[in-house]
Symmetry: none
Subunit: 403 residues, 2 copies
């Protein structure tokens, strides 16, 4: 039961302590066969097990019971933000996902190439899943469009998909979508979903008119569809909310974007291995009070159904834990943003194994870090949002309430 953020904010006090949060994306799993072990339970993790033995452990629920989170809400929750209050719209997520540095005024959307016939009616909503290489040229072509000196940015995702960003002050993202979600009809014009969005709707429609002209001879990609218009939600920063000078060690755009949204300084890593990320942690250790490190490959393996691969990634992280403990962090959080069981090949709703280590944690004496031992830990089965207040308390960063 999280406390109100304003209540917590009033109790925040400074301290000379450091907190490290390692998020193994999609960490939670399921047994491969009846009676078997999960990915985490299977992995040989002597260092994580030792840390868990000295930690308070539990299972975190990112959004709510039975709710499968995307990476956005999953991260907001473990970062300590209400993932329902702060909804990152689809368009903004796509832009973050391709590493676009989305500004607070930018209106983003998901874009894709489509095919229309001579009458302008949709015949293929995905333009035959155009090869990525062909899309690249067309995206470059669309980038040349100018409407009333507004800046437009398009960034290829893959195949027929791209991120669309419109940059101008004061634009609203309350816009209807152009994709009618069926063929045989014309793409819809964008309309203002609420009063005040007319300017933005008009600009997008003018862009679409230009795009139609430029793509006229580019069959099958002779038109585009835009949906999921969204600006970034305005989040109170880690500095405002938790009094933390925070940094993010993430490789992929989406996680760099979400942590940047929380006001974390996004650090660049030389190389792209998990070990390289630990090197960044070591190099920047003195400069920040809070570090978020994102490990992507656990989720990739989970979504690919690669149980053994996910086990190996967890073991790779485990082998690097001594480099973390050598830094003598005051508080360590190890968790995931959601579960991605390999047997489901997808994100899932299952609560996520989580440990909070500090010398003031009440240790559960767990012998092996895993889902089922965490279910009996002293953190209980709790909202992911509750982890940051507990970590801050362990770091001496929350003052006593009342006398």
């Amino acid at each position: 039961m999280p406390v109100e953020s304003s209540f917590l904010q009033n109790l925040i006090q400074p301290a000379d302590t450091k907190i490290v949060m390692i998020i193994m994306d999609g960490l939670g799993g399921l047994p491969r066969e009846p009676g078997g072990k999960t990915e985490l339970e299977t992995a040989f993790t002597p260092h994580l097990d030792q840390l868990a033995g000295q930690s308070a452990c539990g299972l975190t629920i990112p959004v709510g019971p039975g709710i499968t989170p995307g990476s956005g809400p999953g991260h907001l929750a473990i970062f300590g933000y209400d993932p329902i209050q702060y909804n990152i719209g689809r368009g903004a997520l796509e832009a973050l996902g391709v590493g676009f540095e989305l500004g607070p005024e930018d209106v983003a959307a998901r874009g894709n190439f489509c095919t229309v016939d001579a009458d302008g009616l949709l015949t293929d909503r995905r333009a035959g899943r155009l090869p990525t290489e062909e899309s690249r040229h067309l995206v470059d072509l669309l980038c040349t469009i100018r409407v009333e000196s507004i800046q437009f940015f398009l960034k290829l995702i893959k195949e027929h998909r791209f991120a669309f960003v419109m940059r101008a002050p004061g634009l609203s993202d309350d816009l209807t979508e152009t994709d009618p979600l069926k063929t045989g009809v014309a793409p819809r014009p964008v309309t203002a979903a609420v009063a005040g969005s007319e300017k933005a709707a008009s600009l997008v429609n003018k862009f679409l008119d230009e795009a139609k002209v430029l793509l006229a001879e580019k069959y099958p990609a002779n038109m585009i569809l835009l949906r999921g218009f969204a600006k970034l939600p305005a989040l109170p920063s880690y500095a405002e909310r938790f009094g933390l000078h925070a940094a993010s060690i993430a490789i992929h755009g989406m996680y760099r974007g979400v942590s940047s949204l929380a006001g974390m300084q996004v650090l660049d890593t030389v190389g792209s291995t998990i070990a390289d990320q630990f090197t960044t942690l070591e190099k920047c250790w003195d400069a920040y009070e809070f570090f978020y490190m994102h490990v992507k490959a656990t989720d990739t393996c989970g979504e690919n159904g690669d149980f053994d691969g996910k086990v190996r990634v967890i073991e790779e992280v485990d082998a690097l834990i001594p480099r973390l403990t050598a830094l003598q962090p005051d508080v360590v959080i190890i968790s995931g943003d959601h579960s991605s069981p390999a047997v489901m090949k997808a994100h899932s709703w299952h609560p996520v194994p989580t440990l909070v280590y500090s010398k003031y944690a009440r240790p559960d004496g767990i012998e092996k870090f895993g889902e089922r031992v965490c279910a009996r830990g002293s953190l209980g089965i709790l909202p992911a949002m509750d982890i940051m207040p507990i970590a801050l308390a362990n770091a001496g960063r929350i003052a006593k309430y009342g006398a």
Copy 2:
């Protein structure tokens, strides 16, 4: 997740049952050394263990995850009140803390003697931490002040500190403080923080003018500062909220005050040992339906870093449990208002071991009452506010909801 108090209140029904709540202040603890046991886990507690074996056990969170409660909020929570909704202001707490019987209209503040120079500028905000014996005379002197036939009460806390209470109908506590929190400037006059507080502000300022005259020659204690103006929050009583005729067996002012706020009859104990408190329980057994007993020494030892002392106090309570069970209470709650681990020498945020005994409790079959077994108990890890409804249910005092 507590139910709304109005919802609960509508279901309250009378029953011929008795509930006893024993609060060992700061009960929760931490191991003294890695891999060791907490204070409660260390203590030899055969009677508590037997009770726990027949009880539903759990860990209570007084205010919220990571929040370290003072004694006021910690008590309100285990009493069943929302400790954030019902905030006891600093001044009211100080007055309760010295055993002042604060009335519902009284405006209280923290007072302290200070030193000002010839120009009235602060040179020492604590008057050199005046010895308690000297303060006593000055407090008596200030008690002679009369302003517009209003009653003022001052009660020495210790050294330079005292509780200040102003008694008159209809006064507001929305007042600014006089302490500028730094030296080299004059104490501030009290002002109305909101419209409607002008009368109270004017009365306090007139009191301060008189105090200045009386203390003029009393260097270094030649002025006073007042802050934390607060009335008591108006709490629905135990009779209104839970239908309970309730009594409190507490020795110290603060806990007598908080229980009185909940409408409990505060009983006087002959002597001051825990055994004496059990005698009060026995003597008054027939007269009430609910008894709150407060054991202070667990917290005192915790705050002093006295691990062994805290263990001994817990064992002292344990040895008295047969006198409780001989009374055949229908429901027994054993818990704390917060944790005070000896290794931290302070209150802490850690959840508090709690048992609810009744013949209708679903027993967890716990063998030893302690933090880590409670973490796996059937009450779970729950808000402290939830304990009273569970106890009332066990006492047959909550009617069925719906048909």
